[in-house]
Symmetry: C2
Subunit: 681 residues, 2 copies
């Protein structure tokens, strides 16, 4: 009789194993990642799995309760001494295979009480961290075999965990003897091994059983720095924190920061210190929130645009300030937290994702890892909007990327009443096309302005300005209401119907909101122009990539970045930020760069994956492409002058196009004009 079949879910990996094989050994043999800190001693509880019983037609297997061994003394001792196992779970180091078996690897094998951050935990990330916690019992010193303490530790790590030829972080040498004696010769070694080709490194050492290890994922934005603290063993995110990038005091946007470095001999140093100090502050915050010590953070992943990336690493970004925009380093960077003056463990590793190009940074790489457009069967577009827009177009292994100089308008900068997303900022807008009267929502108040009680609740913050997503909505609603035309001109004739339209220095403005004790919140002609420029740049970049790909349409669009979570995809389409697409296939994915950073933190295979992907991306430099300017000009109109939006128009009635002569020759006299005509009527 052949050995019983064992199938692991969700991966579906399968193999035959002799009766009596511990489930953990079978999993490892098949490359199914199961954590274990104690090395099968039944004390860490990390290796728990869930045997599943029944007839699994899909797998063609009958998994019976007696296909797994009875509860062992080790498991009974574990639940007695250490903690309960969730019903149905077993310690895979102890439970053995007795017959055909289906074993589910739970996403969450938590053994300690941990706070859970729901916000960032929505995505399930398969774990395979670069850190392995290894509990070992080290031989005591023997004068007849005078191997050093560290050498005996290395010997047992090789014997029991298979780590040969271990490197040792220098800071371990002075502590190894005390830790071994404090732990009475039982210690937990933290081994870092990122690339399979690199030698494993002993980076931290704890007396006794250390059944936890943490990591941080950090997205260094020009404006905001965001950090998540995750358990490397359970995968849970325990705390998140964000702060303004203190480099703002050296320059609002990245190019002004480059200028600052060029003008000030110590500018680079000051900005590197500023961002590292801010990151150290965030480390304190997330650790305080989760109730852990920063020295328990053993791994970290950072992403950022190229200039943030360089300044964080202590590299002068001057070369990025002009052609040929040469990155000092584009590949992934592996270093130590201490090299960057970050205050965690002395052995904590730092991994920075690769940059794609001089304008397309590690943040775009992380967003690509997270959204993976190149893994889609149909052509898929990823747009990550910050001060620049990073654009990635992918399908079935092919990936193209570029960056477009949108400027900061989408973030609320360079808009007369724009502001950063903060309580009191207008984030949603509706305009009645008949009366031109607006309804708004502000951040911090969970109702529309025409609902009862809004005024009372809004008093706490006031209505202070318009944030990025609000700007998109108000522009789109103004366009849909006919207040601005397809060329972005505020229609003065509407002033006759509504006092919300008023003349202002030879152009017109729209009064969106009256504040109690400040100037009114208005949308001026210059604001519309700023958004037109920004969206034209974004669209031109997308168009360029589509041309390079030979594509006419895209099947999916992921909107990430500054306004990613909050933007209404419909309005992005109405304004022509992105090409025509079924609204249902346009998704706001939030901070995709942050998600990608967390993926790289929790699974080192994701690091290899994004490194390979980035190498194979076709990088398009918009500044070198003559057609970019043409696309830009054509994209200034709403939605734009040359492209069709049939899928959008199936759901939304767009105003008529006036300048039919500029519409693509294949589509003159289109139904849209008639529909638009009807609408105006």
């Amino acid at each position: 009789m052949s050995d019983p079949l064992v199938i692991f879910t969700p991966s579906g990996k399968r193999g035959n194993f002799p009766v009596g094989t511990p489930i953990l050994d079978a999993a490892r043999d098949l490359g199914v990642y199961v954590e274990s800190v104690c090395g099968g001693r039944g004390i860490c509880g990390r290796c728990q799995v869930a045997p599943e019983f029944g007839h699994f037609a899909k797998h063609g297997i009958e998994s019976a309760p007696d296909s797994v061994s009875q509860w062992s003394a080790k498991e009974i001792r574990y639940t007695d001494k250490r903690g309960e196992l969730i019903d149905g779970r077993r310690l895979s180091c102890s439970a053995t295979i007795q017959g055909p078996l289906v074993v589910d690897i739970p996403a969450d094998t938590v053994v300690n009480q941990q706070t859970i951050r729901k916000a960032v935990d929505t995505r399930l990330i398969e774990r395979n961290p670069a850190i392995q916690m290894c509990f070992v019992e080290v031989d005591e010193p023997d004068m007849h075999k005078p191997l050093g303490d560290l050498d005996r530790l290395k010997a047992v790590l090789e014997r029991e965990w298979g780590y040969s030829d271990i490197l040792v972080s220098q800071h371990i040498l002075p502590i190894v003897q005390k830790v071994l004696r404090d732990g009475k010769w039982s210690v937990t070694a933290a081994i870092h091994q990122d690339l399979e080709s690199s030698r494993p490194t002993l980076i931290a050492l704890y007396p006794g059983l250390k059944n936890e290890a943490y990591g941080i994922a950090c997205d260094i934005g020009s404006t905001t720095i965001a950090m998540h603290l995750s358990s490397l063993l359970s995968g849970r995110t325990l705390a998140s924190s964000g702060t303004s990038n203190p480099q703002i005091r050296f320059g609002e946007d990245v190019m002004s920061r480059v200028s600052y470095v060029m003008m000030n001999p110590d500018g680079r140093g000051a900005m590197s210190k500023a961002v590292r100090d801010a990151i150290n502050g965030l480390i304190q915050n997330v650790c305080a929130e989760a109730g852990i010590d920063p020295t328990d953070i053993l791994d970290s992943v950072f992403v950022g645009n190229p200039i943030m990336h360089h300044l964080f690493l202590g590299i002068d970004p001057t070369e990025l300030g002009g052609a040929p925009f040469a990155l000092a380093v584009s590949g992934a960077v592996h270093t130590w937290a201490t090299e960057l003056d970050l205050h965690m463990n002395d052995g904590t590793r730092v991994y920075m994702l690769p940059c794609i190009a001089g304008h397309v940074g590690a943040d775009a790489a992380a967003a690509t890892l997270s959204e993976a457009p190149h893994k889609e069967i149909d052509l898929s577009l990823l747009v990550d909007v910050g001060t620049n827009a990073e654009i990635v177009l992918g399908q079935q292994g092919r990936t193209l990327a570029c960056s477009s100089p949108t400027g900061p308008a989408f973030e609320g900068a360079e808009i007369s009443c724009g502001q950063r997303a903060a309580p009191g900022a207008i984030e949603r807008v509706r305009i009645d096309p008949e009366t031109l009267e607006p309804r708004i929502r502000i951040i911090g108040v969970d109702m529309w302005s025409d609902e009862p009680g809004f005024a009372e609740l809004a008093k706490a913050t006031g209505v202070t300005g318009i944030c990025g997503s609000g700007i998109i909505e108000v522009m789109a609603e103004m366009f849909l209401a006919g207040i601005i035309d397809e060329d972005g001109v505020l229609d003065g004739s509407k002033a006759a119907n509504s006092d919300r339209i008023f003349e202002d220095k030879r152009t017109f403005s729209y009064r969106l909101w009256e504040t109690d004790n400040g100037p009114n919140i208005t949308v001026a002609q210059t604001d519309v122009r700023a958004i037109q420029m920004a969206k034209a740049a974004l669209y031109a970049g997308v168009k360029l990539l589509m041309e390079k790909h030979g594509a006419q349409t895209v099947a999916k669009i992921h909107l990430a970045g500054a306004f990613g979570t909050f933007i209404d995809p419909k309005y992005a389409l109405v304004l022509g930020l992105v090409p025509d697409c079924e609204i249902a296939n346009v998704r706001a994915v939030g901070n995709a760069a942050g998600t990608g950073a967390r993926m790289a933190l929790l699974n080192r295979e994701h690091r290899r994956e994004i490194e390979d992907t980035v190498q194979n991306i076709e990088k398009i430099e918009t500044a070198l492409e003559p057609k970019f300017q043409e696309h830009f000009v054509n994209a200034m109109a709403f939605p734009n002058k040359v492209d069709q939006f049939p899928r959008l128009e199936a759901e939304i009635k767009l105003p008529a196009r006036r300048s039919a002569a500029l519409v693509g020759a294949d589509d003159t006299g289109s139904p849209r004009r008639r529909r638009g005509g009807r609408r105006r009527a």
Copy 2:
């Protein structure tokens, strides 16, 4: 016709290569180490070799002048522009194989003007350093292929030098762009690769061609720190320097330094800083002497006894202060100079040889590497005397080692008129057995005291005391002259014949020298006892190892360490420091630990060799061996009580043994007694 045979000397490696193969390629193919910095561009001159012509009967080859290609344009350009080649030498990157050929790899391929230190250059060390200097021309930035500057550098290092998967020292990131531009895209990269299994690391980067790289080898003694600066490319030692170990102010001997750490919370830190500061001072000295910059030192090797080793690495040595004498780390240590606050290049690597046991350190390992007793056909003894004596016994792959607590008497400490080796110290002594009148030599004066002019020359320093080698000589001469008997008793009856013997507190002393303006230099009974204790400890250790090995005699003895260079082997035998041996086979080898450190610096294969050797050494802990005490007691007498010295006595007439009863039973009534009897008569 088959490809011509090529034989490289001195290694004798041979192979057949197609006509037209550059000699460099053939050498590399056979694993013959030939340096090249410029990668075959004919500009560094490092790859020079010496084709040899004639009939080589030993190799069975006729090597004709037309077996090597004519001078190439590259070679003519090199000698025109860069410098002459020594007559007969060729650039192996350019000269090609045309027929059967013998090629000598010169030990010295110097291309720059370099000061040569003859003193330490006596031993030829085959080079294969851990540092490779690689001159490359890097692609300029290309916006269409936006690889980072560092990434393009890595690409060319892989393409032209075969280094894939290079790690990059963090400090390179901030400088890479400037160096590439300063060098107009031509740079020299310093690649460190010690173990073949570890990834190559870019540790330094220079604009243009950098045709030199240096390393230091440093022996950290309890009393003295010695450093040599060598060219890693030519192998030459350019400068040497030494200084007192400033830790002496915390304790004269190592155990008192351990006590200091145990008593003072900041004692470890203070002593680590002290030794590192002293080493930084030596780095300044050797660099100044050689006229180079400390940042051009890229590799370094350190050795020291276990306590010096630990304190240098910042490890608390307390565990070494008592049983089981547990080393924190016994294996070789690889780290960075910056981790140890050493001021060289930010990328400079540090290699420390392994320790053998808790009492037998990296210095003993280095001495073993240098003298290699285990490679001898006949049983060979290495004795390295410092404050302790390290003893290594080896033959044909088998090695035994122990440490013996000799105390510092051999270094002149604990001797009433003892002093460190310095100008004015008595280093050689002869005593007329009839008159008991002495002749001496002192350090700094190149004549005996009975030669004309000595008094005049000695005035500069005066005669200040007796150094280690002087103590051995005066004891041995006193024994040979009958002033002290085999039990070490100063014979008061001699006072009748010579006023040099005088009574001093119920024992007798010998007046060795009258100083002009200080106390006389005398040898007291207590001094003899101190030397007896020291030599008995040393001999007992040797005896223990011989017993473990099952050996009755040794064929060779190498005396290394404090008095290594200066001791007269004859006197070491006369006093019974070491077992009987033909005097011609007893060699004083000087600072063998320092030589071993230089070997490990210049050839990384020596690192593997000593790591393997140390692993296989049989370590004997004298404290655990009951017979050690017995051997010690028996070895107190001169030469000692139980062993025979027939080979010594063939050359030197020893005084008769009085206590015949204690002489080995197989040898009672020996001729020695009769000879001794004649002598006394």
